[in-house]
């Protein structure tokens, strides 16, 4: 839309101090600003209302997750992963546990895997609902936001029924889950999903073909396939550009290869495509959950391998192996074999990858998280320059930056 080179020159002359009569205005958007729903700062250079330069600054929510993990036992990291992505904590739980399982070289029982798929997809839906709702709210569709939050509430009640908490779920373990499905869960699930579908239909009618909404998001914040790849995009942001990359299909983990779902892709990679991709992913996730609920096998929800969980009390008091296992679990904790692995999983925003290094003792040597939105925030200058200041809102909303996983 605008000549980028001219903007670049304009930007350089005005910030180099050569042009004192410059009309470039620098405003700080964030760290505390209504559109910045994580904490992040964008130093934005404006020519009138046109954005000619932008510097993102991250780190306002840095909590030292990775360093903290090195000073913990392996199992103690799970509660920290709740706090990484605070709109889909279960996906981070699952990602981390599957990474440690990969390090061990074990698999959770099938029932645990199907439950994980259900809970993970519920979390993906809550993630998308929050993202779309918040993005729409910021361009004025407040009603849409609250309807989506209502739908999210139905799902979070399911999460609460399963894990006992809405945010601090702390639900997965190495080789299974902390709890099995509660009574009547699958019946509730069906009921909630049909309510969700109703709300989705209503919201679709309200917003998707709304002229004002389309004007606000169409051709805004577009990014080409090449740029998206070179910035390391993943998840809905990448799929909106037209690249059907989804870790659930590209590198199937858990039981996703037994389930039937489609990967929605966009074409232009603008905010509207991202909106549509996320809307469709909610529907796909709903279908995944239904399939998984139908196929739910009977069986244990936690592995019975030794040294992955506390032995039963009757073994602790009844035989020597049980007693020793118990002693070692308490004193050393989980001790995955020495080695290093990278385990990617598909989070709400994109690829959540855990890179783990173990030296065989009970303490992690390195726990590294590959957060999806780091790359998105890095690309913010690329996709905002040349747009108006009001366009920061839909662009940033569609990025769905989550401070917890970005700053770690």
């Amino acid at each position: 839309m605008t000549d980028m080179n001219a903007l670049q020159t304009r930007m350089e002359t005005s910030t180099s101090g050569a042009d004192f009569s410059s009309s470039v205005m620098t405003i700080e958007i964030g760290p505390a600003h209504p559109a910045m729903h994580g904490i992040v700062r964008f130093t934005t250079h404006l020519d009138g209302e046109l954005i000619i330069g932008m510097d993102p600054e991250i780190g306002y929510l840095h909590r030292g997750f990775e360093k903290e993990s090195e000073n913990s036992k392996w199992i103690q990291v799970i509660p920290y992963t709740d706090r990484l992505n605070y709109v889909s904590p279960l996906l981070c739980n699952i990602g981390y546990s599957m990474a440690v399982e990969k390090l061990y070289g074990i698999e959770a029982p099938r029932r645990a895997e199907f439950t994980r798929v259900i809970m993970g997809e519920i979390s993906r839906i809550t993630d998308h609902l929050t993202c779309l709702g918040a993005a729409a709210m910021e361009i004025g569709a407040f009603t849409f936001f609250l309807w989506f939050i209502k739908a999210r509430e139905y799902l979070w009640e399911l999460v609460e029924a399963m894990t006992g908490a809405r945010l601090t779920t702390n639900w997965t373990r190495f080789g299974g889950n902390a709890m099995d499905l509660p009574d009547g869960f699958l019946h509730d699930l069906e009921d909630r999903l049909s309510k969700l579908e109703g709300i989705m239909e209503e919201c679709d009618k309200l917003l998707t073909r709304n002229k004002i909404f389309i004007d606000r998001v169409k051709d805004i914040g577009a990014i080409s396939k090449e740029d998206a790849l070179s910035y390391g995009f993943s998840g809905p942001m990448l799929r909106a550009c037209g690249i059907p990359y989804d870790v659930r299909r590209a590198d199937p983990y858990s039981v996703y290869d037994e389930l039937d779902f489609e990967i929605p892709v966009g074409s232009t990679g603008d905010c509207f495509d991202r909106f549509l991709v996320r809307m469709e992913e909610i529907r796909q996730s709903t279908s995944i959950i239904k399939q998984a609920a139908d196929k739910m096998p009977e069986g244990p929800f936690m592995t019975d391998e030794r040294m992955l969980h506390y032995p039963d009390k009757k073994d602790v008091y009844g035989n020597i192996e049980g007693l020793i296992d118990h002693f070692k679990m308490v004193m050393e904790g989980h001790s995955p074999p020495a080695g290093e692995i990278y385990m990617p999983t598909e989070g709400g925003n994109g690829e959540i990858g855990f890179y783990l290094v173990s030296d065989g003792s009970g303490d992690p040597v390195r726990v590294r998280l590959r957060p999806p939105c780091f790359n998105f925030v890095q690309a913010m200058p690329l996709i905002t320059v040349g747009h108006y200041v009001a366009d920061i809102v839909p662009i940033f909303g569609s990025i769905n930056m989550i401070g917890g996983e970005l700053d770690r």
Binding site: I29, G140, F142, T143, L146, I212, R216, V389, A390, V393
Partner: protein, 357 residues
């Protein structure tokens, strides 16, 4: 007693009393109640409960006390002046908008005249031109607030406000030109009385909405944009420029902006009723010839208030249904679509009026 009555009946005093009654008993209460009603109505739209917590003992009145709570809160809040602000302009800016909003009611009749006594503060000759003059004053509030606050967000908001209001002013006048042609006057009383006539015997009242359907939509859009309400609230731009031109205000001055918004919301509704829905005239009431005068007046006030509330509701419904325009889209809509449409409206109206004459 006679002496007192004589003083009261002098035009100047009478006008003051009317101002007090119309503003204090109609505009301000409705505007204030709307601040609560907007929250309640939006809550209904969004499946929420809405405000219901303010209480005295066990009495909450389903949220009515929030009106008092809000008022008290803004009175007792500190009235801050940001560092580097232009003190005088900063302090007077909030009241431009409020005065402009309230002044709209000066020419709106809320019931038919009884003898010499009119339920209208003044029936000025220029009539609606007065409205245009007054609503233009509105822009000063936003611009002064934006420029004197010493804040970049406020400056952006003030700039947006001035550009938007100046451009919508242009076709607001043009959109209303059709009404002037149809009823042959700019006087409000003339327009209202013109709408009391009927087509096809006594079948359809000649309301502005029927004679000027396009003009109705255009003028309504212009007025909503003029009052800077959603979907035209780019000057406020709560998500990108935080609160726009009144970002730095606090306490009662901030409330003045809010109150101005709601009073002008009522003003818009009252204007739409007056110009397009027959004003205070109750349709087909003239068929009941023996109706007592007091009953007619009561019915007229009721009808006027009813339509005003309907229009208030409509504006609130609009705000909570559609997203906002971006600033340049607002301008584009005004200049590229609504202005040509209003010109077309003038031409069509002129041709029809000529043909029927």
């Amino acid at each position: 007693m006679d002496f007192l009555l004589e003083i009261i009946m002098t035009p100047a005093v009478l006008a003051c009393i009317k101002i007090a009654v119309i503003i204090l008993l109609f505009a301000m209460p409705l505007g204030t109640v709307l601040t609560l009603m907007e929250r309640k109505w939006s809550a209904m739209i969004q499946d929420r409960v809405g405000p219901n917590r303010a209480n005295i003992g066990n009495f909450t009145g389903n949220g009515v006390l929030h009106l008092a709570a809000d008022g008290l809160k803004s009175i007792f809040k500190e009235d801050t002046i940001p560092k580097g602000a232009n003190g005088f302009l900063y302090l007077i800016a909030p009241f431009f908008g409020l005065i402009a909003a309230v002044a709209t009611f000066a020419i709106i009749p809320i019931a038919g005249p009884i003898g010499d006594f009119t339920f209208q503060v003044t029936d000025v000759n220029p009539g609606l031109l007065f409205i245009f003059a007054i609503t233009s004053l509105n822009v000063y509030g936003a611009v002064l607030a934006g420029t004197s606050s010493n804040s970049k967000f406020a400056l952006l908001g003030g700039t947006r406000a001035s550009a938007q209001m100046i451009s919508y002013e242009v076709f607001m006048g043009i959109a209303l030109m059709g009404i002037f042609m149809v009823y042959g006057t700019t006087r409000v009383s003339g327009i209202v009385n013109g709408q009391n006539e009927y087509w096809f015997g006594n079948l359809i009242p000649m309301w502005g909405i029927f004679t000027q359907p396009l003009g109705f939509i255009l003028f309504f859009t212009a007025l909503v944009a003029e009052t800077k309400r959603a979907p035209f609230d780019a000057p406020e731009g709560e998500s990108e420029i935080v609160a726009g031109y009144f970002l730095e205000y606090s306490g009662m001055r901030w409330s003045a902006f809010m109150l101005a918004e709601y009073v002008s919301l009522v003003g818009v509704a009252a204007l739409m009723t007056t110009l397009f829905f027959g004003g205070y005239h109750v349709p087909w009431l003239h068929l009941w010839e023996s109706a007592p005068q007091w009953l007619v007046t009561v019915l007229q006030i009721f009808k006027f208030t009813f339509f005003t509330v309907i229009f208030c509701w409509f504006q609130i419904q609009l705000r909570w249904t559609v997203p906002k325009f971006r600033f340049d889209q607002t301008m584009g809509l005004g200049w590229k679509k609504l202005l040509p449409l209003s010109l077309v409206n003038i031409i069509i109206t002129a041709l029809v009026v000529l043909a029927l004459a």
